[in-house]
């Protein structure tokens, strides 16, 4: 894991070398590649011209590291260094229990709510019992994942349909299996002989 982290940081700080290393790939895919970046002074990356856009990951990194260290130094020197440990304040909220803890689902709740109608086609249905009925009211939200429905579902249902069609292959006699293997072998050999 640490190796990947280190690689990510290096890629961000020295992007020129990565872009140069990837140029054969872009040439193969798009027929063109960016000008060589590693030779540009100060390890900047300049896609077209410096006046249009340029980026120097190393300098930005050094800049951030220096200003963070300087801030830490000045704050600790001029301000207080004292630290007192205590329980979390939490605005008077009682001690957190597993029931009240913030989960991934709670984190995603605002985004689910905002994009719910458009992206997830959320449908709310309210089951309100009649007066006098003692059962609790229920609100149910149905969420559809359109990416799953339009991208993966056709593939998975296609695979399932083909598997259903070919299901009989599992119930052949030994003689038929041997024939199948033999026919496949002949077919492959013919394909090999025909192919250039």
């Amino acid at each position: 894991m640490l190796c990947f982290v280190a690689l990510c940081v290096l890629t961000g700080i020295l992007p020129g070398f990565v872009i140069d290393a990837l140029s054969p790939v872009t040439t193969l895919l798009g027929g063109n590649h960016m000008p060589e970046q590693a030779t540009i002074p100060w390890l900047s990356i300049v896609p077209v011209a410096a006046s249009r856009s340029s980026y120097n990951g190393l300098l930005v990194f050094v800049f951030i590291a220096l200003s963070a260290s300087l801030t830490a130094f000045v704050v600790h020197r001029l301000g207080s260094r004292a630290v007192r440990h205590g329980p979390a304040w939490d605005c008077g909220f009682p001690d957190p229990s597993p029931m009240t803890e913030y989960t991934a689902a709670s984190f995603a709740q605002p985004i689910r709510r905002v994009f719910g109608t458009l992206v997830f086609r959320a449908q709310e249905s309210v089951d309100m019992p009649a007066p006098g009925d003692m059962r609790p009211a229920r609100i149910e939200v149905r969420v559809r994942d359109l990416v799953w429905d339009s991208l993966y579902l056709p593939i998975s249902s296609g695979v399932a349909a083909i598997a259903d069609q070919l299901n009989f292959v599992q119930f052949l006699t030994i003689r038929r299996y041997l024939t199948l293997v033999f026919v496949t072998l002949v077919g492959l050999l013919v394909a090999l002989a025909v192919a250039p």
Binding site: A50, V75, H85, G86, A88, Y102, S106, A108, P110
Partner: protein, 316 residues
């Protein structure tokens, strides 16, 4: 070379020194508009110094991330603010990063703040973090769209070049520029947590976003987060000023008189923007959290429309 570094260093110090003053000015104007006397202009400096001198009360279960996040948030915001031309163009380090990098630096600061909000594990921090991410999911694409519009007009994402082109007579009044300005204003209001998106002056659990995330912070850590917030407001006003009102910007190699003019016009721009912000904030009501996406969605659509208009007119 030394002079260039001096101008760049001056810019870094300038944004740091002016940011609390700007916030103090906005607070003062808001108070005066409500016929209150309001705190003195230097109150934000006093608050920062008071917080710096206080001890930090740290939750028992806070991790190293919680303690280091304020420094990272402050440093990334400071660097981003130092990359925006305020009073002079062509700063020494302006070629090291463009507008997209500035957006990225602000995104990193937000990421660390959201992580710090989740770190202690209390519910309020989590609420704040998830709301902040919801706002970011709409504000960041809109900001990038505005950057694309500017890049289509100026042929560059470099802020110095963009400001130079915008100051030249080649760029007249354009519909797409108006739309982009409107979108950027909406993004700036949302990103800085100003009314109507968030109210920096209250601690109401139902609506707070930024304050919920920093609820567990105290002492010097809180001072740094507050300072980063002041810097962010200054940064957005500086971006709007240098792109949409690039008057009086001095060249880096200009004479001291031109630099003084640039400085004067920068302070004037900050005052006008601060007054307008205070006026706007006093005249609208805070909106519900789940109305914010509608507000930001409108900003995103405006920015998208600006890019499309520019794209279509340039293609012809």
């Amino acid at each position: 070379m030394i002079r260039d570094f001096a101008v760049q260093g001056g810019q870094m110090l300038l944004v740091l020194l002016l940011a609390p003053l700007l916030t103090g000015f906005v607070r003062k104007v808001k108070a005066r508009l409500l016929r209150r006397r309001g705190p003195p202009l230097v109150q934000p400096y006093r608050d920062l110094l008071r917080l710096l001198r206080k001890e930090v009360v740290l939750a028992d279960n806070a991790s190293w991330l919680f303690r280091s996040a304020p420094y990272l948030i402050f440093a990334t915001t400071w660097v981003a603010a130092a990359l925006v031309p305020t009073f002079a163009l062509g700063l020494t380090f302006s070629w090291s990063a463009d507008l997209i990098v500035i957006a990225g630096l602000l995104g990193s600061a937000r990421f660390f703040l959201a992580l710090a909000g989740l770190d202690v594990g209390t519910s309020f921090g989590g609420i704040g973090s998830s709301r902040e991410m919801m706002i970011a999911s709409l504000a960041e694409p809109a900001l990038i769209m505005v950057v694309f519009t500017l890049a289509l007009i100026a042929g560059s994402t470099q802020l110095s070049t963009v400001a130079g082109v915008m100051a030249s007579p080649a760029v007249g009044l354009r519909v797409s520029l108006g739309l982009a300005l409107f979108a950027l204003l909406m993004i700036a209001i949302a990103e800085n947590g100003r009314v109507p998106v968030d109210n920096p002056a209250t601690h109401l659990e139902l609506t707070m976003v930024h304050e919920a995330m920093v609820l567990e912070y105290s002492g010097r850590h809180l001072a740094l987060i507050e300072a980063a917030q002041f810097l962010k407001l200054l940064l957005y006003i500086s971006i709007i000023g240098c792109v949409f009102a690039p008057w009086g910007l001095a060249r880096a190699d200009a004479q001291p008189a031109a630099i003084a003019v640039g400085f004067g016009s920068y302070v004037a721009k900050l005052s006008v923007a601060g007054f307008l912000l205070a006026f706007f904030e006093s005249s609208v009501a805070k909106m519900r959290v789940f109305r914010v996406p509608v507000f930001l969605g409108a900003g995103l659509m405006l920015a998208l429309l600006a890019t499309l208009l520019m794209f279509v007119t340039q293609a012809r």
